[in-house]
C-alpha cells in the first residue's frame, strides 16, 4: 500500500491511498496478475455509514469485511491503514486471543471504532496511538487544520513512532508504504522513493487531488497488487475511489 497526507499552501489537507494486497497469494499465468486482487476488485464498495439519516463516516471497503482500512469523518479527520509486516505479527495476537488473553483490539475493528466514535483529530490520534492491538500496523491520519497529519507506527503493544507534518521545516507531506520510516525499504520494493520524487516535483503550491492521483498512477507506486485508489479532502468532504489495474509492463508489487 501507499498512503499519504499532504497540505497545500492554503492549509487544505489531502489524504489518498493505493490499496495493494495479495502478494504471493496465487499468480494467474494467463492474466499475468495476482489472483486475490482480481477477486477483490468486484468486492470493492464505497460505504456511507449513517445514523439518524446523517453521514457519520465514509469508507472504501470490501463487501463482507466489517472492519475498515480507508475512511473519512467529513470535516473532522481522514484515516488509512497500511500493513506492517513483523515477526511479532498478528498470528501471535490470535493465539493469545484463543488462549483467553483478550485485552487487544483487532486492527480493522479499531479503525472502524475510531471512524465511528472519535469526534476530533486529537481523539483519533490518541486512540490509534495508545490502544493495545493484536497485530502491528501503520495508521495514516489526517485532520482538518494546518499541520494535522501523521503516520503512526504501531507494534502490537506499543506506539513506536509518530511522524507528523512539519511545515515550518518544509515537511508538507507524510508518506507511508510498508516500511518503518527510519529504515530503508527493501530494494526490490521501493515505492517510497518514486512517490516522494513525484510529490517533490509536484511541489506544495500545485498539490491537489488530481496531482496526487498522478503520483498514485506512477509505477511502481501503482503495481499489480493495486486494487483501488481513494482520494479524500476532509474540509469539503470529497471522497472518491477508483478501481485500478496495471497492465503489462508492470512490476508485480
Amino acid at each position: 500500500c501507499t498512503s499519504l497526507v499532504a497540505e497545500d499552501t492554503t492549509g487544505k489537507l489531502y489524504h489518498a491511498r493505493n490499496l495493494d494486497f495479495g502478494l504471493f497469494l496465487g499468480w494467474d499465468i494467463k492474466k499475468h496478475s495476482w489472483e486475490i486482487p482480481e477477486y477483490l476488485r468486484p468486492l470493492t464498495v464505497n460505504l456511507d455509514f449513517q445514523r439518524n439519516n446523517k453521514t457519520i463516516f465514509k469508507s472504501t471497503n470490501f463487501a463482507g469485511y466489517v472492519g475498515m482500512l480507508t475512511g473519512m469523518r467529513p470535516g473532522i479527520f481522514t484515516l488509512t491503514m497500511n500493513e506492517r509486516f513483523n515477526i511479532d505479527g498478528g498470528y501471535i495476537g490470535i493465539i493469545e486471543w484463543i488462549l483467553g488473553k483478550r485485552d487487544g483490539f483487532w486492527m480493522s475493528f479499531l479503525t472502524r471504532s475510531v471512524l465511528e466514535n472519535a469526534t476530533s483529530y486529537a481523539q483519533a490520534k490518541d486512540q490509534l496511538t495508545n490502544t493495545k492491538m493484536l497485530a502491528p500496523a501503520y495508521f495514516i491520519l489526517g485532520g482538518n487544520r494546518s499541520g494535522e497529519g501523521c503516520v503512526i507506527t504501531r507494534s502490537r503493544k506499543a506506539c513506536l513512532d509518530v511522524w507528523e507534518l512539519d511545515l515550518k521545516h518544509g515537511s508538507w507531506y507524510v508518506l507511508e508504504t510498508n516500511y518503518d520510516r527510519w529504515k530503508d525499504p527493501l530494494f526490490l520494493d521501493n515505492r517510497r522513493t518514486p512517490a516522494m520524487k513525484c510529490l517533490n516535483e509536484t511541489t506544495q503550491k500545485k498539490i491537489s487531488l488530481p496531482a496526487i492521483y498522478d503520483v498514485l498512477s506512477t509505477k511502481p507506486v501503482l503495481n499489480k497488487l493495486t486494487t483501488y485508489t481513494t482520494l479524500m479532502e476532509v474540509s469539503s468532504g470529497t471522497f472518491e475511489a477508483y478501481l485500478r489495474d496495471c497492465p503489462d509492463p508492470c512490476i508485480p508489487w
Partner: protein, 123 residues
C-alpha cells in the same frame, strides 16, 4: 510506458485525472450502512448484491489454502474452530459477521477467517 526492473525508472505521470485509460478499471458503487438498524441486518442489502463475489473470493482463498495443505485440514480447522471464536469478538462486530454469514450462506468460520485475514497475514 515501461517499468524496468528496480531501481525505479518510470517518469512521474501527468494528466491521468479524471481517471481514464488502461490503469482505470472502473467506478466503485456506493452503499448506505444504517448504524441505527440491528447489527445482524446492517449488511443485508450489500451482501445480497455481492453474494457471488464474496463466495468467489472465499473459494479462491480456500483453493490457495488447499494448495499448501492438500489434505484439506486447514479449511476443516477454519470451519470447525474459527466459527465459535465469533462469539468472543466485541459487539457489534460479532453480530455483523453472523448476519453476513446468514445472508451469504457461507460457513461462519469462513466469514470470520476473511474478517481476521489481516492478523493472519502480517507474518
Amino acid at each position: 510506458v515501461a517499468q524496468d526492473l528496480p531501481p525505479y525508472s518510470e517518469e512521474c505521470r501527468k494528466g491521468t485525472y479524471p481517471p481514464h485509460g488502461p490503469t482505470f478499471k472502473g467506478k466503485i458503487p456506493w452503499y448506505t450502512i444504517n448504524l441505527d438498524s440491528a447489527p445482524h441486518k446492517r449488511w443485508n442489502q450489500l451482501i445480497s448484491d455481492k453474494k457471488v463475489e464474496v463466495t468467489n473470493l472465499i473459494q479462491a482463498i480456500k483453493n490457495l489454502a488447499n494448495d499448501f495443505f492438500p489434505s484439506g485440514k486447514l479449511i476443516e480447522l477454519v470451519d470447525k474452530h474459527l466459527a465459535p471464536l465469533v462469539d468472543t469478538l466485541p459487539f457489534p462486530f460479532n453480530e455483523e459477521i453472523k448476519g453476513i454469514a446468514d445472508v451469504s450462506g457461507l460457513p461462519l468460520g469462513e466469514v470470520m477467517f476473511f474478517n481476521v485475514f489481516y492478523e493472519i497475514f502480517t507474518v
